[in-house]
Symmetry: C3
Subunit: 310 residues, 3 copies
Amino acid sequence: MVSLKDRDIISFRDFTKEEILYILSLSKEMEEKAHPDLLKGKVLATLFFEPSTRTRMSFESAMKLMGGEVIGFVDPGATSIAKGESLRDTVKIVAGYASAIVVRHFLDGAARLVADTVGIPVINAGDGSNQHPTQTFLDLYTIHKTKGTLDDLAIGFIGDLKYGRTVHSLAYALAHFRSYMYFISPPSLRMPPDLLKELSERGVKFQEITSLEEVSDRLDVLYCTRIQKERFADPIEYGKVKGSYHLSKATLDRSKVKKTLKILHPLPRVDEMDESLDETPYAVYFQQAHSGIPVREAILASVLGVKELD
Amino acid sequence: MVSLKDRDIISFRDFTKEEILYILSLSKEMEEKAHPDLLKGKVLATLFFEPSTRTRMSFESAMKLMGGEVIGFVDPGATSIAKGESLRDTVKIVAGYASAIVVRHFLDGAARLVADTVGIPVINAGDGSNQHPTQTFLDLYTIHKTKGTLDDLAIGFIGDLKYGRTVHSLAYALAHFRSYMYFISPPSLRMPPDLLKELSERGVKFQEITSLEEVSDRLDVLYCTRIQKERFADPIEYGKVKGSYHLSKATLDRSKVKKTLKILHPLPRVDEMDESLDETPYAVYFQQAHSGIPVREAILASVLGVKELD
Amino acid sequence: MVSLKDRDIISFRDFTKEEILYILSLSKEMEEKAHPDLLKGKVLATLFFEPSTRTRMSFESAMKLMGGEVIGFVDPGATSIAKGESLRDTVKIVAGYASAIVVRHFLDGAARLVADTVGIPVINAGDGSNQHPTQTFLDLYTIHKTKGTLDDLAIGFIGDLKYGRTVHSLAYALAHFRSYMYFISPPSLRMPPDLLKELSERGVKFQEITSLEEVSDRLDVLYCTRIQKERFADPIEYGKVKGSYHLSKATLDRSKVKKTLKILHPLPRVDEMDESLDETPYAVYFQQAHSGIPVREAILASVLGVKELD
């Protein structure tokens, strides 16, 4: 039996392959059928020490669509923290008001600290540059839904692979399956060597390249991330990189991508992906964002113990 | 059959007389009887890119009184927009989290853009100086409720008739009915000529005057608006105007108004209407504000398709 | 019959001993049994003109756990007040959207003004330095729950007794019962003479001292408050006071306190109470904070008229 009852959802590293598949399967069930009374009487506290409208709204919608209730705050300035209260005290008190906590914090490791402090399930909605596991679950769910499998796929990651936490977490998660990975980035924004070493040890086959053209005809999935100007000391260097990693309908028409290619992006996008892409069959990033609802429903229902796998 | 299922509520210009009467009649039904489970399982997203506590709270209360749920934000600073995301992307994502959107935005035309972008119903809760149609519905509802009709009334509009969007929209809406309009304002704040021309073409009889005294004994309804200091280059000019358009119990006692006169105001008021007025039988502006609940219930139930007229 | 239907909860001075005992007894009932549909169809407006995350979240959770709904704001900047609207107008309008109001305001007396303005029940969640009656109810509830009685206890109050409104209100409330009070504070932060006079007149036995050691072996309950730096003209003086009123496991081990001593604190704490205290059997302040839920459930259910005492 797989049960995530009372489990904290802090890092993807805490999950077995079996547990991942269970969450994906439960997400599908959630998407196919409404569960309007599943979490009646349960209260979720959403503690956003740093804003993230998309993530907060999708957790709130998920909770409410299952009949649960939500309390919370979005502004650290409006809390007792402004009076000097410790994070531990704040969450100890909130734990008495709620059945589970979703926390987003600007510091790496904050979610684990919260989970170690309280007795109710804690879900990490992003802690600093560290982890954002529910994003990875919905990335996996979208790949699985649009490609029908997580195995034997050629998956490209493009953009800022050095600082992009969604890429690190997704690559780690996909290592449970038999997919080939292409890491496409400027030399200064490559995947962290430690993570590559770990992927190798787990038997992942991958290749590091600098241009999409080299592999565009082979890819089943392309996962894009935003390249942030702040990562470059030299604005001219940033301008060059930005241009060569910009995706549009025209870029894709020029390169010989598979007709079945699916493009994902954790959003928000700024310059790296043109709106012309939106109407192509490649674009699944809005569908990906919408998957936040069933995937977060599945996670909430699991940790609150109302759903288990026999 | 009148159905507003899946309709966007952007401008009063989009509604036929039959549709207006249907919303007013449904609002009455909503006021007379609780509908606690009508919108169970539906989620409303309230996207307030500019604050409007009254409007937001009345939409939220309306939704919740019908068993629906609400997600949303009130602060553009706390959203992905701060990261440079386009309005179109933001609302495309939110459309996957909700059954309908209420949007308030500081730019004219923003609500129409949102409606054109998403596939779920969008309700305009005010876009710049442009439209605020649910306010007009509740203005009409209050006139109809307190006077028993929308026809054959003498209706005065007083204050800032140049910039006041509620006045423009209400005058436009009332043109569907047979009422006489008096536009009472300082010369610099008269009704826009284009709108007057349009009213004429639609057969509306009206008169422009500068002082309430000229018509006070004839009015059935007086609709007041705030005169904002920022509209005057010369503060002395503002002071004069302010004084002569200030309403109080004493002003009304002096002028020979009908005993059945009803005074409306979209609120908030600042200086233009004295608290002494509140306890007179003329004052219906708080009742008007409270009508926001049944009127918005009617609109939400209509666009979400749970109420139709046979 | 005791009924608090339609009552405002503004100051502890408005309650009889019988009413206090009724709320405590109803709080116990609320804690022991879920009431998921008790307030279905009721809407609570939480108007926080000044932030108080803990209080707001516990009211919201209480309301929602009983099936009620919540609307509100936390930021005065985002309201019509910013446009110059009076507090009276704001709450008159909100009264049309809700079944009850919880208000927190930075001005003394604001809650009474709100209660006098609207026809629905108003609960004071803190007005300036004045009153915070639901905090006092949960303080009483915690003492009663952990000691089994409110009579014949030796109760110490330590810290800032001059400005601490929770202390004033709790001492006033406890005067209904037969307990001995020790007021432990630096000379500059003693209890207000007027309040001491009133306690005397009501037959309370008490003693003012400057050091916990003098009475530590006699206390059944110790109620701590934060000493704020701003209260001292001289930072050196503050440093001295702070040191001598700092509580830790070590402090308590040195002094000969009863094994059954219970330590309360309204929280947030900053320096005055060490985390080492948390795991001792003395510490009940997190339990005290969590009591906010059943106590506020009891108060909401009472004023909304769904619970009465035969």
